[in-house]
């Protein structure tokens, strides 16, 4: 827009030119890292409540594997790790400017991410069928709230990833400007990181 | 309405009042210094036709002075209060031999149960009365606070005692009445539409009279159980 000319266009992947040195990274990446700070605090409140409640009444939690289906979620965790790898491969190919590899890696990430959500929905259906529901007690309340909101974040991530993939197919991401891929990658890895912690403290402890 | 605290009638109320007045004096001095200083600066340094402000970015020495003075005052207040807090609510602050009285808060009334002859709460011979707390003079009392529905707060202004009764928790808090007479007990935590009506009367008797009252009420209750016990 009209005012953009004050922001020089030479390299958008570096901090804004003609400005005091700030964080050393371009605006969108800094914005995403700051946003992830707030996400950390959001999961702090949910996981913190879980840790506090479980510390208070450990007897209300079943030993690992008794109620929750660990094998299926272990595969699911591996799926999410793979989607992190495909995401980072997509970013690497975006850096190299290899459009075809970028598109295929992005597609792979979208598919694996969506299948993670699918497996989680299946796991929920299985649990609810078995009578393990949020109103069952502390165990059900904390489990469904934490994994539910993590699933919600993964779903939002998959939707954004689809949008980025659609733009990739339009060739919007070149070697000099692939901010979208890097920023959605940061969000995706964060969601994967949260799941890695969640998987351990919910399923394995 | 006097600015001083109302007359107190329990053992540690004097410590609380003393701390209150200490802080009132300290903050009073600080209040005067700041307000008078402000008024003085406003008058002295108001804009004059060709007045010139002093170009200075501040003096580190002055900053260090008021920072350290404030810090010292604040730490002193903290140390003084920590002692009193520990005596009132510390882990082993409840004096031995304190009379256990069950204070059960429920939406909009207090059920106060007195230990029967065995002196223990929760045994069969307890006497439960609605909104009436009768206490012997100069005897430590430990109130065992429980709540049935929302959070209530056991607050007797004259004894300077306040403690929330949290559902799912049993909280023990002690006090020792030092004056006979009747005082009022109120709920100090919003607990629903009748929160303002959770009023109970606290009556402090001399020792013998308290015992006589307890026996008389015990006999009356034994004769015909009150509605409360038949939940």
């Amino acid at each position: 827009m009209a005012h953009a000319h004050a922001l020089t266009h030479d390299d958008v992947m570096r901090p804004p030119a003609g400005r005091e040195p700030g964080s050393g990274v371009y605006n969108e990446k800094l914005g995403m890292w700051v946003f992830l700070g707030s996400e950390v605090m959001f999961f702090t409140s949910l996981i913190g409540a879980y840790i506090i409640l479980r510390f208070g009444h450990p007897e209300k939690w079943a030993p690992p594997g008794e109620v929750l289906n660990v094998p299926v979620t272990a595969v699911n965790t591996f799926l999410l790790i793979c989607s992190s790898v495909t995401m980072v491969k997509a970013f690497a190919s975006a850096q190299d400017g290899n459009q075809r590899a970028l598109r295929s890696w992005l597609l792979a990430t979208v598919l694996i991410g969506a299948s993670f959500v699918g497996v989680q929905v299946y796991e929920y259906a299985e649990l609810v069928h078995k009578g393990f529901v949020p109103s069952e007690g502390l165990y059900g309340s904390t489990f469904f709230t934490m994994t539910g909101f993590h699933g919600f974040h993964v779903t939002v991530g998959v939707l954004c990833m689809m949008f980025v993939t659609w733009r990739a197919f339009q060739g919007k991401y070149t070697a000099t400007d692939h901010r979208g891929v890097e920023v959605i990658g940061l969000y995706w890895h964060f969601v994967d990181l949260v799941w890695i912690i969640l998987f351990t403290i919910v399923y394995l402890i | 309405m006097s600015w001083l605290l109302p007359p107190h009638a329990s053992s540690y109320a004097a410590d609380i009042d003393w701390l209150y007045y200490l802080i009132l004096i300290i903050t009073g001095i600080a209040f005067l210094v700041v307000q008078i200083g402000l008024v003085w600066f406003i008058i002295k340094y108001r804009a004059r036709p060709n007045g010139k402000a002093l170009y200075t970015h501040g003096f580190a020495k002055a900053e260090w002075i008021w920072t350290s003075v404030t810090a010292v005052v604040v730490v002193v207040i903290g140390l003084l209060s920590a002692g009193v807090w520990d005596r009132i609510k510390g882990r082993d602050s409840i004096p031995p031999g304190a009379i256990p009285i069950g204070i059960h808060g429920k939406q909009f009334e207090w059920h106060i149960s007195y230990p029967g002859a065995d002196g223990q709460l929760g045994t069969g011979d307890d006497l439960s009365i609605r909104n009436q707390l009768h206490l012997p003079l100069n005897k430590p009392v430990v109130a065992t606070l429980t709540s049935e529905d929302a959070i209530h707060s056991f607050f007797i202004p004259a004894f300077r005692i306040k403690q929330d009764a949290v559902p799912g928790m049993t909280i023990r808090v002690w006090f020792q009445p030092t004056d006979t007479g009747t005082f009022e007990l109120a709920c100090a935590e919003l607990c629903g539409l009748g929160h303002y009506r959770m009023r109970a009367v606290v009556t402090v008797h001399a020792e013998a009279e308290y015992q006589r009252w307890l026996d008389e009420r015990g006999r009356a209750a034994a004769a015909s159980p009150t509605a409360l016990l038949q939940r």
């Binding site: 272990a74 965790t77 890895h189 890695i196 912690i197 403290i201 | -």
Partner: protein, 91 residues
Amino acid sequence: MEQVKHSHPNYIGIWVALAVLTAVELGVAFLPWSKTTLILLLIGLALWKALLVALYFMHLRFEPNRLRILAIAPLPLAVILVTAVITEYFW
């Protein structure tokens, strides 16, 4: 200043490490050790995996220090909240 094909961190290596660590976690979780050692070990493994993802996948290793500080700024707050509320039980 065209970015020539620059070196990428060994992503596949990290992937394998994560997979192995997950497998180890699964193994450890069902061992009959004492509860506390199990919890500490599992949380340690989880934090190790999380660190790997953060350093290599989120490139924190290659970012300026200012961004790293900014990234880990909220963590002490989480620790303050949980430890303070847990002391609620030691009364």
